[in-house]
Each structure stands twice: as structure tokens, then as C-alpha cells.
């Protein structure tokens, strides 16, 4: 079992993590936004996460932590 956590207040909803994830774990939320007004990344299929860190490697705002 692996998982990620996203610092949603830092997230800018850019979607680079969504593109990088080979397991389609992450989506950009259609309704949850942060204080800066960005719709944030949401790991909707966390059970599929393999802990590869690709999402974190591409996140320009360094808001993802990965556990494996």
C-alpha cells in the first residue's frame, strides 16, 4: 500500500501530477478550491497508488509527499 498527501493550500491545480501519474490516481477537483482560488488536486483513487513519486517529481509547487 502506498499513498500521497497533497498540501492543498500550496496546490495551483496545474494538473502536471495528473498527467505524470501512471495509475490515474489524481484528478483536479471540480468543486474543492483553496484560499488562493485554485481548484486543487485530489487523489481520488489512492488505493491504486504504487508510490512511484512521478507526481511529486513533476509538481512545480512541491506540494506532494509520497509514502511507500
Amino acid at each position: 500500500m502506498s499513498s500521497i498527501s497533497i498540501d492543498k493550500e500550496k496546490c495551483k491545480g496545474c494538473g502536471l501530477c495528473v498527467k505524470a501519474c501512471p495509475k490515474k490516481v489524481i484528478e483536479i477537483s471540480a468543486d474543492e478550491s483553496n484560499k488562493s482560488g485554485y481548484f486543487v488536486a485530489d487523489p481520488v483513487r489512492m488505493q491504486d497508488c504504487i508510490g512511484c513519486t512521478f507526481c511529486a517529481l513533476m509538481c512545480p509547487d512541491v506540494c506532494i509527499t509520497v509514502e511507500k
Binding site: 502506498s2 491545480g13 512541491v62
Partner: protein, 249 residues
């Protein structure tokens, strides 16, 4: 479960001011991680440019100096010569390094100054609103080339790695792309190599990172990564352009 990825201590907790999806953030993280892994805490000094990375001094957990447009290699020369035991890195965009700062970078490289330059090539002037850069591709639309860059009017893109690798001074010159996880990992290795060369006293190194400016390219962050991978790498091929270690083998 163990933590396999977390934010490096060499970055502060200040949120980046960059636009969503801008790869300046990835470049910052890679430099900071490489500095941490090389044990440069308390030993690194960064030189921030004019350009979107002008506030880089707020983001790195080390001493930083922000300098006049294009002059970062000259400032770094002074810092490194006065503090030879510090690890001095320079961070410059393509407008900063390849346009107004052409003289400084060429002569720092020619002198083989013992500094590490990270060159962000996003093929455009980001901070000032998307004007044509020396690295803008032929046909690329910018605010000052609204019909696409025309070589007969503006010349061809300047290939910085190719140009500098003709000099005797540099120890390591490489071009990487921040387009996908595999290339980001390669970029980290190249940055680490450049910093290690400095620590070992081997002299000047420059790592060019093909980057995005989704805001001024007028495309989504994901489309901008595809542009780097599919279009920019055709004009700016990835690879190692100079490596004195490889040459000695």
C-alpha cells in the same frame, strides 16, 4: 510505510509566486535537493537573476544575492573568488543569460570560473509579458513576433550549450528537459554533477533546462510540457556537450 518523497530542507516554506504549472518550481526543487544531498547546507550561495526568478532568494534556504539583469555570472565570479569554500550557483533565464547577459556568461565560461550555472530556457521572456527571446523557435508566436519568429528578421535561435562547449574553460555543459519524470530525474543528475565539479574544483559548469512558460506560450501547463518535448528538443537537442571527465577517460 516510509516517506519516499518530501520537500527538501534547502527550500523555504514560502509559496512560489510562479504561475500554475510553470517549471521554474521544478528547477528550484532539483537544485535544492542536489545541494542538500551534496551536504551544502550552510555552504551554498545562490545568485538570482532579473526575470520571473527574481524572487528566488525567498525560496532557497541559503544565502542569495539578486543582481542586475544578465550580470549573475559576473557577480558569482566575485562571490566565488572571495569565498572559494562556498558552493556558488547561478540561476538565469534565457532573456537574462542569452540576451542582455551574453558577454558575462561567455567570459565566465571562457575563464573557467569555478561556478555552476543553471540556465532556464523557456524560449520566451516570461516576466515582461512574453516577448521574443534569443531562444524563441522559428515560427513561434510571441508578443514581439506575432506572426511567428522570422529568421530573416530576427535571426535563428541561439544554442547556448553548443556555443559555450567550443570554449576551453568549461568542465561540464549539458542540456536537459523538465518535460516528464524521466527527464526531470536526468536533470537532477546533471545539476548534481555540475555542483560536484565545483566542489572538486574542476571549474565552470552549465546545465540548460528546457522549460515552460505556459502563461505566455498561451497554452495549458500540460500542452507546454508537450511543446518542450516535441518542438523545443528538435532545435535544442538534449545531451552532454562537454565533460572533461569523459574526455580524460
Amino acid at each position: 510505510m516510509a516517506v519516499v518523497f518530501e520537500k527538501t530542507k534547502m527550500l523555504t516554506d514560502v509559496n512560489f509566486h510562479y504561475c500554475p504549472g510553470c517549471t521554474h518550481g521544478i528547477a528550484h526543487r532539483l537544485i535544492a535537493e542536489a545541494l542538500e544531498e551534496l551536504g551544502c547546507e550552510g555552504k551554498a550561495i545562490g545568485i538570482a537573476p532579473v526575470g520571473c526568478a527574481v524572487f528566488a532568494y525567498k525560496y532557497f534556504n541559503c544565502d542569495m544575492q539578486q543582481v542586475a539583469h544578465g550580470r549573475a555570472p559576473a557577480a558569482a565570479t566575485g562571490v566565488k573568488r572571495v569565498c572559494p569554500d562556498k558552493v556558488v550557483f547561478v540561476y538565469q533565464g534565457d532573456g537574462d543569460l542569452a540576451s542582455i547577459g551574453t558577454a558575462e556568461i561567455i567570459h565566465a565560461a571562457a575563464r573557467g570560473e569555478n561556478i555552476t550555472v543553471i540556465f532556464i530556457n523557456n524560449a520566451i521572456y516570461g516576466m515582461t509579458g512574453g516577448q521574443m527571446a534569443p531562444t524563441t523557435l522559428i515560427g513561434q508566436k510571441t508578443t514581439t513576433s506575432p506572426h511567428g519568429r522570422d529568421a530573416s528578421v530576427s535571426g535563428n535561435p541561439i544554442k547556448v550549450c553548443e556555443l559555450l562547449s567550443t570554449l576551453d574553460g568549461p568542465s561540464y555543459i549539458a542540456r536537459c528537459a523538465l518535460s516528464d519524470p524521466a527527464n526531470v530525474m536526468k536533470a537532477k543528475k546533471a545539476i548534481t554533477k555540475g555542483l560536484k565539479n565545483q566542489i572538486e574544483g574542476k571549474g565552470f559548469s552549465l546545465i540548460e533546462l528546457l522549460s515552460t512558460c505556459p502563461t505566455n506560450m498561451g497554452i495549458t501547463p500540460i500542452a507546454a510540457l508537450d511543446y518542450v518535448k516535441n518542438e523545443m528538443t528538435k532545435i535544442f537537442p538534449l545531451g552532454v556537450y562537454k565533460d572533461i571527465d569523459a574526455a580524460q577517460k
